[in-house]
Symmetry: C2
Subunit: 368 residues, 2 copies
């Protein structure tokens, strides 16, 4: 895939996904939708900031709900090329439960929405198997779903197999528990990073545009020597589900100040926490080789890589330094892989990556 000349520098936008324009478009939608918060009679005001990982609704003095919806982006295209649909079923659960647990809520129910060209039985069974396995790890019940046939409005590399899948997860906070929002974060707190399992379900359109040159049906089966896997296997690695790790920390009584799912926008997701602080991440582990391959193939700027991809860290927990030992022990006991990756400092809301020379504010990293 590589040739000797330096490839033209690629960005997520040049692959067709313009997140800046999406942000502008979204603001036009939100201007209307935000007016609806007053319509649900008897529901309490949101205790989480706008744009948080999940919405939280206080139903009464005992129970609050957390609600989140997300899809797997164009990872479904990889499944069409390889026939591995189970990974996609898994991911559509994973991306949602990982958002729900950022509030401290326990995921309880999930519904899926599948838009597809044609209802192939073996494809749907494989999606179901993946969803089932993910639901078991996340301890969530899949209580409903919708199958919508769109024979002429979906397209993909395998005619008839185009589909898009998304899901919505509902979690509960019981016994009057308040959500974890980040509001308790203080300078001096520690940032714990939990390992991702590769690119998860973000930045797939860019990754496909760089790694699937020529006949995608062929290149998807080529081995990436750096990864020890084929392109398809690497890009379809399952999004790690962090529910057991987070549940273990909360059950152990660890004083968790903030929880952040590192999905699209990478480590900038820390800025969604309700704290005006600086996250100085000076002990990040080396990203998995797939990120180097993507960066090299597209001559992608490091700032862009860290904006689009998780770069090895799929979930963060912020805790006071005194709780870090207990937190790491709980995560390890749940089978998770985690390490201290940085600290919280006084300062304006930003993410500083000194090893990489990057500073992230708002929705972008800048090389400094």
């Amino acid at each position: 895939m590589a040739d000797d000349a330096q490839p033209e520098q690629q960005t997520y936008a040049s692959s067709g996904v313009d997140t800046d324009e999406a942000a502008r478009g979204l603001s036009g939608l939100l201007r209307w939708v935000s007016q609806t918060s007053a319509f649900a009679d008897g529901v309490g005001a949101s205790p989480v900031p706008g744009g948080f990982f999940a919405a939280v609704l206080p139903l009464n003095d005992r129970t609050s709900l957390a609600i989140s919806t997300d899809g797997v982006g164009s990872k479904s295209v990889l499944a069409q090329l390889t026939g591995d649909f189970e990974s996609i079923g898994w991911d559509c659960v994973a991306v949602n439960v990982n958002d729900i647990i950022c509030t401290g809520a326990r995921p309880v129910a999930l519904v899926d929405y599948i838009a597809l060209q044609h209802p192939h039985g073996e494809m749907l069974a494989a999606l179901g198997k993946g969803m089932r396995d993910a639901a078991e790890r996340a301890r969530v019940a899949i209580v409903g779903g919708e199958l919508s046939q769109h024979p002429d409005t979906l397209t993909g590399p395998s005619e008839g197999y185009a589909f898009d899948i998304s899901a919505t997860c509902v979690g509960v906070l019981e016994d009057g528990a308040a959500p974890i929002t980040g509001a308790a974060i203080r300078p001096g707190d520690t940032v714990i990073g939990m390992a991702s399992n590769g690119i998860h379900a973000n930045g797939l359109t860019l990754a496909r545009s760089l790694l699937l040159s020529g006949d995608a049906h062929e290149t998807v089966g080529l081995t990436l020597p750096e990864c020890g896997r084929t392109v398809g296997e690497e890009l379809l690695r399952r999004t790690h589900i962090y529910v057991p790790e987070v549940t273990a920390m909360l059950r152990a009584g660890v004083d968790v100040h903030g929880l952040a799912h590192i999905s699209g926008d990478g480590l900038l997701n820390l800025l969604r926490l309700d704290a005006d602080v600086e996250y100085r991440l000076d002990a990040l582990p080396a990203p998995q080789p797939v990120f180097e391959v993507i960066q090299r193939e597209g001559n992608v700027a490091l700032a862009e890589m860290y904006r689009v991809y998780n770069m090895g860290i799929g979930f963060c927990a912020v805790a006071p330094a005194s709780s870090v030992g207990d937190a790491l022990a709980a995560i390890a006991a749940a089978g998770g892989e985690a390490a201290v990756i940085g600290t919280v400092r006084e300062g304006r809301r930003r993410v500083v990556l000194p090893q990489q020379g990057l500073v992230g504010e708002g929705s972008a990293f800048t090389q400094v």
Copy 2:
């Protein structure tokens, strides 16, 4: 669009949407997904039958949740042709809240999922405006959503404007209230039908294939004389939201035995109620003219029309004969249009339409 020769007989399947194959494919998915019901620790067993309009989760002795997810099918294609995106925003709320209220739950929160080719600002603002207006009528808060860019996997008649929208609604049953399931339905009960607002959001692929011949951008603007509207205006009429009517009945203390949203599968939706009875609907009003036009253009069998379309009735309530006066009064007070359309009889679970000579069992009507 019509010519003198009798057109070839069209079905939903010949338009590319095969509901029988979808049912088989879905069973393969459900075989796996049904195993997840045991995974949500501490959530009570479902008090509604499988395949009900919404899932119901007892959270504790005080609160149960209702959850439903649905999209607007290919109605979004009409919006791309006409530029009327507000109708689609409205409908993605409507189809979901109408499912939630079948349980007697009060809709409280909704999240939307929009997959799109490109995040055009004016399109997103119009979708947001429609969602806002529908949310106001349904008294639901739109608490979150996901915008997912799929530049190369969606396609439609207006390049760059292809999109698919779906939503998930959550409702609550408070004070230990049990859901309305249909289990209280008895022979002798009355079926009340509430008027639909045209085809709502079902059977659009078939309707498009029949009414948008030639250049769809042109034919969408042609007037349908029978309807007094253009093709686009008629097919984009907003799905009626029945929340005010149902809320009025329940607040008035009407003894409601069953509530059924008449969406895809038409009046067969009555069979989703938890009652082994026959619904004899012998007083159906005349369907709106659009249904005659579709039937004529595609020479569609009457059994197929009643299986795919609502044929004028968008929502049904089943109540004991003694409550019908109160029910109709409550609906009228809420501004709704309703009439008695039939009765419940002892017999096996089926829908009998004597005026049309149709009997519906399982997922199909048969001409008798």
